[in-house]
Symmetry: C2
Subunit: 197 residues, 2 copies
């Protein structure tokens, strides 16, 4: 029964559906925790369709990770922008957003960093490096606008707190990880601006 009775037959839509389901399942089960066959069954698509759209499982993984990186980066940037102009408020907003993420059921850490751990050589590692660099851009910008003496260092300290909080929230089941990191980040921010002034 090819092409179910009243299907829309829109390749872009098909691709998006595969991408969405794969994003969820690859995150929940890990890159090696689910096979192409089961993925196709969950999507409701055939293997041929998946392979026509993505070429290979690695191609699908790559597409999933890049789309997810874009979404996450935009989400954090929006959270910062929504907090107004004050750098401290923006920083707090970023960590508050993280806290809401950690509290979501099914949270398993950062999908992109996790993927890089599972494929330590290859494309996912590069995606993760770019992903962290984009986070760093946001955080360093906040540090710079706050007038910190060394915004580059401060931004990387913020990033360390962000990633560390994510690890704690995942492996320690610590729901307060984001609040802790926020407090630490704000303390560092104050110290780097008011302190040496």
């Amino acid at each position: 029964m090819p092409v179910p009775k009243g299907a829309t037959l829109d390749p872009a839509q098909t691709r998006a559906t595969i991408l969405d389901t794969a994003t969820r399942l690859l995150y929940e089960r890990g890159l090696d925790g689910i096979g192409v066959a089961e993925l196709c069954a969950a999507v409701g698509a055939s293997k041929e369709t998946l392979y026509r759209h993505f070429g290979s499982k690695d191609g699908l993984v790559l597409a999933v990770l890049e789309a997810r990186s874009d979404r996450v980066v935009r989400w954090l940037r929006d959270a910062a922008d929504a907090a107004g102009e004050d750098p401290a408020a923006q920083l707090a907003a970023v960590f508050d957003a993280l806290g809401r993420w950690y509290a979501q059921p099914g949270f398993r850490g950062c999908a992109i960093v996790n993927a890089a751990v599972q494929r330590h050589a290859g494309a996912p590692r590069d995606v993760a490096a770019r992903h962290l660099a984009r986070h760093l851009e946001l955080l360093t910008g906040i540090a710079r606008r706050s007038g910190a003496a060394d915004p580059d260092r401060l931004g990387r300290q913020f990033l360390a707190l962000l990633e560390g909080a994510t690890v704690l929230a995942d492996h320690q089941a610590d729901p307060d990880a984001a609040a802790l990191a926020k407090h630490a980040a704000l303390t560092l921010l104050r110290q780097e601006t008011v302190g040496p002034a």
Copy 2:
């Protein structure tokens, strides 16, 4: 040719050899990146020997992770102890030790956290939770001896910096991650002790 010509035939030694080689290879390649057959070939042992000692691949992985957790925890504690009595010096010593670890060729992040990512359900996850709790014990102790107002919170902030620095050193190839985290940790320590005093 069973039992090579002049073998020692010491079960404990055989077990230790398997454990050592497996520790290295499972870290380098990932838990799913190497099979039991190749592992046995690298050790110079037969599958039967491996299965007699560890029961299953999961059993081997568990033994590897627990031994590694013991070693790492002891290593960090020794680094702190060697720094004398001053909490700030102990904290600095911990992050300096981390920095030397990050600089080692073949560094790929924390093997135990990585394993928990690859086996998100099951024993490795429990080992990782205990591992982080043991680190927390050390760091909270330093925070408490420093006279911090909230040593529990400060210790968890230290842990977030530790884990975050490890992520940065791995995925960002940032050789200064440990120094950044040390600076941040010392700033937090000063702020939590001198500040509200």
